[in-house]
């Protein structure tokens, strides 16, 4: 009897213990501040939170994109900074001899793929949205952002590993042997994502929230993709549609594009906001002159994306009003009142300058695609399809807004193309378009070889405290097509034996 009682007691005790174990584990496993990932998305509101997160993810790659685009072009160059070590890697990019361990390449690659993974995760869960129209709009937004990322990557790196679904532990083995898909395959994905987005996105941004994409943004980006692929007929279709029906228009004043919130000219842009915790723009401080203390921007500048003499003179020669004091400044007054000019490190890009209260926390948005680009792309398409006479009015529309004389000397297609490339340089300086434009126009090797050649007597690439840039650059002159692509980050190569490298001859 007693034995039985003891047995019951022990069993009861064990049961209590076990249940208390489970409740303890339960309590420890779900801290309120962490939201478990994939299982989180249950409804449209939660999907929307995820989408906002993907927009936030546009910022990280953009913060290094100018190193890979503007700095490598003839618009901007690496500039000395106190921490020489970091500048060294910018110099390598500037001079077309990056190493595969280059921090900026690696950051851009990993930040972009991180956001692709975020996007894929939300797309994977999109079916929890019950309203079909909203679901298609949401999916359109996500696919547009994914296409934007792959489009940037494929133009910078060539063939790519493609991820269309979220990263899963169960598929780990495949990731370690994944191969690069061809450029054509990447474009198939970009096109299909953008077509879906163009067809399914609404014409208004979700909730009228600034920065969120619309069908017009998708169509304009698709136009840019087709243009890059030299599919002019398709490009014209989408670009004309945006041009005539989108309701977007040029700002009356060029400089307003960079100061107005929600400018009508912007089709797709990346939002930054000050004083909100980690979503401010770093560019005010990045681009202000190095060691200008508080003379240009509160909290000093880093001197990145430094305007080349060539860019400054290009504007000066043409007396183009979009240059000095609009797109950039050629000097500044330091705290003791001395003027530091562009030859001594005093020039800086002006497009993203506002006074931040905290360092790297400014307000200015970054344009990805604006209406002026739609018009100039249309000029490019018309020139290819119908010739310069049909194209010139578009070019002149942009020139008129800028307050410069119209281009009337219409001769050949190729002459017009050169004019157009120059116009794009004047219109879009420091907007990360120059590099891709030079490639699309087939002029990158020629322009860059000439640029370095001209700089032989220029102090630009010769500062002895910088890396011995000049001697290096000359080794690669004339610049070969092999060096137009960036190297795949070494970490990617080392983690996957099937990942091939772009080879510099």
């Amino acid at each position: 009897m007693i034995k039985n009682n003891i047995r019951i007691l022990i069993l009861a005790l064990a049961a209590v213990l076990l249940s208390s174990c489970e409740s303890l584990f339960e309590k420890a496993s779900m801290p309120e501040c962490f939201t478990p990932g994939e299982a989180f998305y249950n409804n449209a509101d939660e999907i929307n939170l995820g989408i906002v997160g993907c927009y936030n993810g546009l910022q990280a790659p953009l913060n290094t994109e100018f190193f890979l685009t503007e700095v490598r072009s003839d618009n901007a160059k690496a500039t000395p900074s106190a921490s020489y070590e970091s500048v060294q890697m910018i110099c390598h990019l500037d001079g077309f001899f990056p190493q595969s361990s280059n921090n900026y390449i690696e950051d851009y690659w990993s930040d972009t793929y991180a956001n692709i993974q975020n996007i894929n995760t939300v797309i994977d869960q999109i079916d929890v949205v019950t309203d079909d129209e909203l679901k298609r709009h949401f999916k359109g937004e996500l696919m547009m952002l994914r296409a934007y990322h792959y489009f940037n990557l494929v133009r910078l790196f060539g063939p790519l590993p493609i991820y269309e679904s979220p990263t899963k532990v169960s598929e780990l083995d495949d990731y370690f042997i994944k191969t690069r898909s061809s450029v054509d395959e990447v474009y198939v994905l970009i096109e299909s994502d953008l077509k879906y987005a163009a067809a399914n996105l609404a014409d208004e941004p979700h909730n009228k929230e600034a920065g969120r994409v619309t069908s017009w943004a998708a169509k304009a980006l698709l136009g840019r993709v087709y243009l890059t692929e030299e599919k002019y007929t398709e490009a014209e279709l989408y670009l004309s549609d945006v041009y005539t029906k989108s309701g977007h228009e040029l700002e009356a004043d060029y400089s307003n594009v960079f100061t107005e919130e929600e400018s009508k000219e912007l089709l797709f842009y990346v939002r930054y906001a000050a004083n909100m915790g980690n979503i401010g723009s770093p560019f005010a401080n990045y681009f202000a002159p190095i060691k200008s203390v508080n003379a240009v921007v509160q909290g000093d500048g880093k001197g990145y994306n430094y305007p080349t003499d060539d860019l400054i003179y290009t504007f000066q020669e043409r007396q183009d009003p979009r240059g000095d004091s609009v797109s950039f400044k050629t000097s500044f007054l330091n705290e003791s009142g001395a003027e530091i000019d562009h030859l001594s490190g005093g020039a800086y890009c002006l497009k993203y300058l506002s006074q931040p209260e905290l360092v790297f926390d400014a307000e200015n948005d970054f344009p990805v695609l604006r209406f002026a680009d739609v018009i100039l792309m249309l000029a490019e398409v018309k020139n290819e399809l119908e010739g310069p006479a049909a194209a010139a009015p578009y070019l002149n529309e942009v020139r008129a807004r800028a307050g410069v004389n119209p281009y009337l000397d219409v001769t050949t297609r190729s002459a017009f193309k050169d004019t157009l490339l120059l116009e794009r340089r004047l219109e879009f300086s420091f907007e990360n378009l120059r590099w891709f434009d030079m490639i699309r126009f087939g002029k990158a090797e020629e322009i860059m070889s000439a640029h370095f050649g001209n700089s032989a007597t220029d102090a630009e690439y010769l500062d002895p405290t910088e890396v011995d840039g000049k001697a290096q650059v000359q080794n690669f002159l004339p610049l070969g097509t092999d060096r137009l692509l960036l190297l795949i980050p070494e970490r990617e190569i080392k983690a996957n034996p099937n990942m091939t490298q772009n080879i510099y001859k």
């Binding site: 993907c54 106190a82 020489y84 190493q99 991180a114 993974q117 929600e262 983690a495």
Partner: protein, 809 residues
Amino acid sequence: MAWETPFLELGITPGSHFDADGKPLPNPDGVLYPTMDSYLLGNATERTKTMVAMESGTHNWLDDMARDNPHFRQYSLTAQGGSKRVGFYISGNYQNNEGVMKDNSYERLYLRAKLNAKLSENVELGINVTPQYITQEKSTANFQLGLPYDNFMPIYHNEFTRFLTRSTYNIGDYTRSLHFDTGTPTLTWEQYEAWKEGKLDAIPDGNPTARLSNSSSTNPISKQQERSNTYDEFRISAFMSLKWDITKKLYFNTTANSYYKTVENNITETEYYNRYENRKASNYIRSISLFTNENTLNFKDKIGDHGITALAGFTEEITNYNYHRIVGSNIPKGMPLTLNNATLISQDGDETFAYPEMEVLLSALFRVMYDYKGRYLFSGSVRADGSSIFAEGKRWGYFPSLSAGWRLSEEPLMDDVEWLSNLKLRTSYGLSGNNSIAKYSYLDRLVARNYSDAEGQVIAGLGSQNLSKSNPDITWEKTNQVNAGLDIGILKNRVTLNLDCYYTLTDDLLLQQTMPVSTGFQSVWQNVGRIKNQGVEMLVNIVNIDKKDLYWGMNFNFSQNQNKVIDFGGQYQMFSYGKRANEYLMQVGLPVSNIYGWKTDGIFNSLEELNNSPHSDDDIVGSLRRVDLDGDGKITEADKTIIGNPVPKLNWGFGHEFKYKGFDVSLLFEGLHDFDIYNLDYYNAAMRDNIGELYKDAYVDEFHGSKPTAWGGVKWEYTDHILYDGSYIALRNLSLGYTLNKKTLDRLPFTRVRVYFSAANLYHYIYGDYCGINPEFKDAYHNSVLKGGEQSYTLPLERTFTFGLDLKF
């Protein structure tokens, strides 16, 4: 004390290297520009720097920042006593340490009370309470910060620097590197003399400007003085135990311990702290509460020659963590530096946050031990551990172990062997578990990723944290260990030897496997692979002399370990990355941790040499020349190889103890052998300052300088250039003491009086090629098996002298 580092500034005497026009003079050998310093003195930049140094008086940032002889004080008082039923113990301990840096201090008050009471014949109660208070100020300006900072600059602006910087700064303002950056005027010696005589009021027009300094660091003294970083820490542990003797052979024991610790960290910065001129305050509170409960039922019996003990138990351990941090800035000038005066509270989730964490560990244990005549010993145990670190279904691990021992010296046969006092053979097998990874690693986590609308409102968003991919399948890492040991005692245990050999196989290694970053993650938590460890540990104690007034004892210990990767989940190798993206290689068939990089062979002395040697695009003249291992005529990633191993191959200790009458002396030597150190501090210093002693012979041109320039070419941390053998032998401890004899004590109110002196780290014999300040530093990866050996911002090794007095009433 003067810090004897290899980094000290050159003592430059103007006039000896150049003429009045600032042109360099030939040195006694008649060679122009023989060294870096005289070469540099020839130019306006170095000339002006020298003038600043002459006007400001030479000083050394390290000396300015560090205390000459920091003092440590420690007092303790202990009392114990009691009656037959109740016993008590009380102790108090007070410690007050000055730190190595001037803004560094540590103060601790630690009390402990213990009480044991027999409540009845068979119930015993124990109580143990330890309150503790620690207040400390941690250094803001790291020791190594002084190294890369230009020594020509004074701490504060003086008349000359005000003149030189065109009256931009006031006398007494902190100097900053950027005050002497690009655009600083230079002077000729005549102009300098004229200024001294009061004949020069302003910098003459047309004087060339130069860049005297290019450091990105902040004036270390302004950092020390204008930023305060205090920690207040309260801890209390309350422990209770209850032992109930149910029968003579069976007792039940239960213990409970509550531990609470809270650390409040306050940081304030004045507008003078750095060049951003922002007044800031932050408050960070971390608290940990831990509750442990342990219940065991114990059985012990002896039936004839058979001894048996058994134990069954259950324990639980619940830990709660709380982290709260608020960072405020833009405090108006004149207002006290407190958070409520901040006009801007940071909304950055990395700065301002509050979050809880919780961890639970539950265990059940069963153990049986059996012996026959004390000669043959066996034991077996099994434990089950459940950890909240893992997901449901993966939480429990079961760990059995078995052991056997044979005390040969107890065998009747051995009774005749007088000299042998103890001989024991033992062997064991056991399985043990490891769950020491970050909490919630099995869980996908979303973090705030916001955006904003046009009205300036935050739009809430969420996204993955993209560093490490979670893995719901991770579980306990398991280690199988086989051990064989031998204990010998001879001559009444005057000589004892303990020898242990072990062999372990670790399976399902818990590690962050590097992922291709295109997956969106840097790494993933995995149970993968198998590692083998084998080693020997030995301990010898010898009493050489043991007489009434004279005693001499010595001990020697030695251990050696080797590990090897047996399998890595079907893969062949994995690279992981250190602080500076330097690489570590893990490869099947090799030791676990290998430093990976390029071998170097001198520098490129000329463009011709560079062009005619295998090189890479980023190489420049004066930079390190790497070895073309694959012989393809180019330097590529394929030329990298294993260049070092951070794990010591051997370590040992050797101690002596002498006593003669009231005097006692003890000595302890220790040695660590054959391991590599990545000296990133050397690199930092050389990076910033081309004229340090260490950098004296840096490349200038074809004819001058043989050391690599830090200003281009391959980064040193990817090569063996800053890799050193850190092997050393240390005189770890030396102590001398004197104890008063009984005769003298009788006249004093004490039962024991001892005075002593001891010195720690008195001498290090570094026989490897290491040349930094501390071969014993702990690096950021001391918990990782994959990485290690990176020395960065290391504090110097402390040599401590202690004078002490022990009194017993």
